[in-house]
Amino acid sequence: MSDQQSTPILEMKGTSKRFGAIQALADVDFEVYPHEVLGLVGDNGAGKSTLVKIISGVYKSDAGKYIFEGHEVAVNSPRDATQLGIETVYQYLALCDNLDVVANLYLGREQVRPLIPRLLEPVNEVLMEQNAIRLLDELHIHIPSTRSQVATLSGGQRQSVAVSRAVMWNSKVVLLDEPTAALGVEQTRQVKDLIRRLRERGLGVVVISHNLADIFDVSDRIIVLRLGRRVSTFDTHATNPERVVAAITGAVFGA
């Protein structure tokens, strides 16, 4: 459960972003704590994606502070965010269908046997496969084989692999963009179980979703964005979907 006494693991202060004439984000504060699942909700165009892209280093904010573990940091590229331990799982974009599970889990961070030149280093399949099996077991992810091509997995299995990929590098914050979109009932349950296990491991998990039922099912706290501003914050266990919907649509202002 969320520990409101601890300091946020990640904090954005006064974040603004403008695309030409459109103010996508205006002076938005955002924070996520360790051991917490945070639901980030809002209508289309509310600024969720923009905020996520700023956090993950894809966009640079026009104004605002990026504070990680209590220190202000500069995040100018996705690599910067990754190095801090902030991982983002994008819908549909996460995996290479033609590679197997192990290759996908390690993509871009292969274990290799040293050789010069570096690009020709042979990958250490044995070590990678061992670690992959251990990780998938820890997260209770069931797949036919770690050597299956991702193309042969179900949607839920793929999403699980994409999420595991994000958490296997000692990551501290994971952002999940619509993690349950296009999944069946059982597959959605698997992914939500996985999200809870990430919380148990002490991560700060940010779930961006249109599906309020899922948000209410897994989150501890809900932040509502509307027209580029943060309009409300809810403790999931002390509110109900009607109030959140009201905040999303603008029927009420303030929390």
């Binding site: 974009l93 269908d97 590679l99 069931h142 179900s154």
Partner: protein, 417 residues
Amino acid sequence: MDSLTPRVEESKARSNSAQGVWHRATSRLAQGDIGSLPVLLGLVLIALIFQLANHNFLKPVNLTNLLVQISAVGTISVGVVLVLLIGEIDLSVGAVSGFTAGVMAVLAVKIGLPAILSVALGILSGILIGLLQGFWFAKLHVPSFVVTLAGYLGWQGALLYVLGSTGTINLTPPLIVGIANARLPVALGWALGFVFLIAITLNWLRERSERIRSGLEAQPIAVLAIRIATVAAATFIAIGLMSVNRNPVAGGAPIRGVPSAVLFFIGFVVLFDWITRRTRFGRYMFAVGGNVEAARRAGINVDRIRITVFVLCSLLAACGGILAGSRLLAVNQSSGSGDVLLNAIAAAVIGGTSLFGGRGSTWSALLGALIIGSIANGMDLLAFSSSIKFMVTGAVLLLAVTLDAYTHARRLQTGRS
């Protein structure tokens, strides 16, 4: 739910049995992962047909000729495989092969540079062309199709330019002639075959024991034995064929041993097979070909991979052009034109490398070149005209691409399950 999605351990236990191996093989086929099976069957079929029509087809001398004939285009095709793997196309390979051979010929014969230096500069010009085309594609975001189409025209023109009024340059330096026409002493050929076989056997055994030690699923020893036996048979049959005296004149000096052109070609296939399947660079090639956005977000320097692959492709085109020039003892205005480009691409695709990117192997360059080469060679034996040759090769290409499209659709289906 557990019964629907077996856990990793369960599949591990199953995979070590013969049943498990069979199960995985059949499920891969069902998912549209048919590998090189149709190509091998096609090759056997073609060989049977031509052998029945003309008993000279399977004679050692003809098969050796066939291998020498396909070496140049096959080498170019290895480069095409690399480009197809990252989901791109290079239409300039034929023209680049002609131009780089032209550079070598002019430097060696007209200008009189040492042969070795001329060859090196020919290859270097290939590298620079790849760098230029790769940069244009990766950094300026012009589709590879267009960049290399421009290259196709441009480098053909460049060949005419460097040849000038000479037209044909006959290659006389022994080193250049020897590139494709030298023969490995028979004993050395066998020794090389043995070393190759021992090396891969040891490597496979080492990998297997390492996997077992680490508690991972490993191939049953019987399957491994079959693999080794297959490779051994293929290696020794090929070396045996090329070790028979090919001199048709009875009592003449024997012509025997593995031709150097074949050695280069097979060497490129094996080397780039290792690079694509085993190295970090190869892994990134597949990733870029499979899902370029995922590759980028995984931190892979996509531009660098793309440029490197185009450099390798042009480099191999240069090597293929030099092999072709060496084999024919000349470079002329039509070097690298005609059906060189189409055969190089067709060989890669017929051999099983996908046009859709991310799937394939450099061995498909060998298999595809063998198919195209067999058809051409067999029809020559039967004295068919080129008209028939083109039509049959076209039909085979269409068949191969249809198979690729079909399995691609099949994979999408099963992938979505």
